[in-house]
């Protein structure tokens, strides 16, 4: 797995469905990423400063949300 992919869906949550979950204070963004190798993943942007759009090229990063527990997030990674 290269960790690279493209955003194929993007949605901003305004209702707090998981009020106690770390990093999911509303509004938060869920993206759907198609990895270069084919699989689909739900994820979130790796940083709050980035507002993703469909078609954006991305690369995976691991975010530690609790000791020993990491989530796969994505940051913009345009390719030449």
């Amino acid at each position: 797995m290269s960790g690279r992919g493209v955003v194929v869906g993007c949605c901003q949550f305004h209702r707090a469905y998981f009020p106690s979950a770390p990093g999911l204070d509303v509004p938060y963004t869920v993206i759907l990423v198609r990895l270069d190798e084919g699989p689909l993943l739900y994820s979130n942007p790796g940083g709050p400063a980035w507002l993703p759009n469909v078609g954006a090229q991305v690369a995976a990063t691991f975010t530690e949300v609790a000791p020993g527990q990491a989530l796969v997030h994505f940051n913009p990674a345009p390719r030449p």
Partner: protein
């Protein structure tokens, strides 16, 4: 006619609906019994005549039959997910065509509003699990929001193009005394509605409410015993796409819709341009666009433009969801749209009647797609 064809082997003898809205004190079985009573009266039949039973969202067919005083030999229960109405009609047609049953009651009851059902969060059986929850992904609304975000990027549509769907169906609900949400809305109201899972906002979502619907399907040879003009099931078919169904489909379910559509069109001897009116599973406004494209009313990626001329409105070329649909009449998971199709074809949709409808197409876009074509002629 092809001897193996299912075309018009079954007909609707009666439909029944309860009140819709917030109706405390009733279980899904109670709503089903209420709707069935209405449908039997409409069909001019007694419960003793019913020899088949399919229930949906009602959890137990045995308990339902006991409560309703039915003695069906053919009997089953379908899961409480949406989109099962089309599957139920097809199953009933198969049972009738094969001679296993002659008069089947299809009964749906939903106490979701009073039972406090909400969508999204850890208890929602829709999706969920380790691929969804840690990232805050949940709810059918967000699933369709992700689909529409991609649709917008591929087609040039934006959020405002959904307003026509919401405004039209609300206008229709205003003509339907049974509808829950009847106050007219404008495109500006749609634009200003609070976001839930953007790009979908409140007025892009269906309602959550209580109620029930019953449909009685009979062998077409018996259909005239009701004393009313029969409504024939000219064609019906469902088709599924469950691979990767935990994720929005790459093709907006176009493949499954094309299969269900083609089979039902062939059986009915009709094509999209022949339909007098449409009943489109509108769990969300965006689903209406996906459905019109998937069932061949227009090219993929164009429905958002096509509908802006008002053709979904009563009297329009694609007049649709004349009851107000899930968005404004009641969220009866497809069932009430079937009842509306029958009422329109019988000329009983007072105040919102289509002009001389002959064929009405009921369609559902979902992992389990379905297509039913009802007609006044066999």
């Amino acid at each position: 006619m092809d001897r193996d064809s299912m075309r018009s082997r079954a007909a609707v003898a009666g439909v029944g609906t309860t009140h819709f809205g917030v109706i405390p004190g009733y279980t899904s079985i109670d709503f089903g019994v209420w709707a069935l009573r209405e449908a039997l009266a409409d069909a001019n039949l007694s419960g003793e005549a019913i020899d088949g039973l399919i229930v949906a969202r009602i959890p137990d067919n045995a308990k339902f039959a006991e409560a309703a005083g039915l003695r069906p030999d053919f009997s089953l229960v379908l899961p409480p997910t949406g989109r099962m109405a089309g599957v139920a009609v097809e199953l009933a047609c198969l049972a009738i065509a094969s001679g296993r049953a002659r008069r089947i009651a299809l009964v749906y009851g939903n106490d979701g509003k009073s039972a406090g059902v909400s969508y999204g969060g850890s208890n929602d059986p829709y999706g969920g699990g380790p691929l969804w929850e840690p990232y805050g992904m949940t709810s059918p609304g967000a699933f369709h929001a992700l689909m529409y975000s991609r649709y917008m990027a591929e087609t040039g549509a934006d959020r405002s193009h959904l307003a026509e769907v919401a405004v039209t169906f609300r206008q229709h609900a205003g003509l339907n005394p049974a509808a829950v949400m009847r106050k007219p809305i404008t495109a500006a109201d749609h634009a200003a509605a609070r976001p839930i899972a953007a790009p979908l906002h409140l007025l892009d979502y269906c309602l959550v409410n209580d109620g029930g619907v019953a449909i009685i399907l009979t062998d077409a040879g018996l259909a005239r015993e009701t004393g009313k003009a029969p409504v024939y099931v000219r064609g019906c078919r469902h088709a599924s796409d469950f691979t990767q169904s935990s994720f929005p489909p790459d093709d907006f379910w176009r493949g499954a819709m094309a299969r269900a559509g083609a089979a039902s069109y062939a059986e009915a001897g009709a094509k999209p341009g022949d339909m007098s009116g449409l009943m489109i599973y509108d769990n969300f406004t965006a689903t209406v666009l996906f459905s019109l494209e998937g069932f061949g009313y227009c090219e993929p990626g164009t429905a958002w433009r096509e509908i802006q001329d008002g053709r979904l409105r009563l009297g329009g070329r694609w007049q649709a969801n004349t009851s107000g649909g899930h968005l404004s009449e009641s969220y009866m998971q497809g069932w009430a749209l079937n009842a509306e199709a029958v009422r329109q074809l019988r000329g009983q949709a007072t105040g919102r009647a289509m002009r001389h409808p002959e064929l009405i197409h009921v369609m559902t876009a979902a992992p389990q797609c379905s297509s039913i074509i009802y007609g006044v002629e066999p």
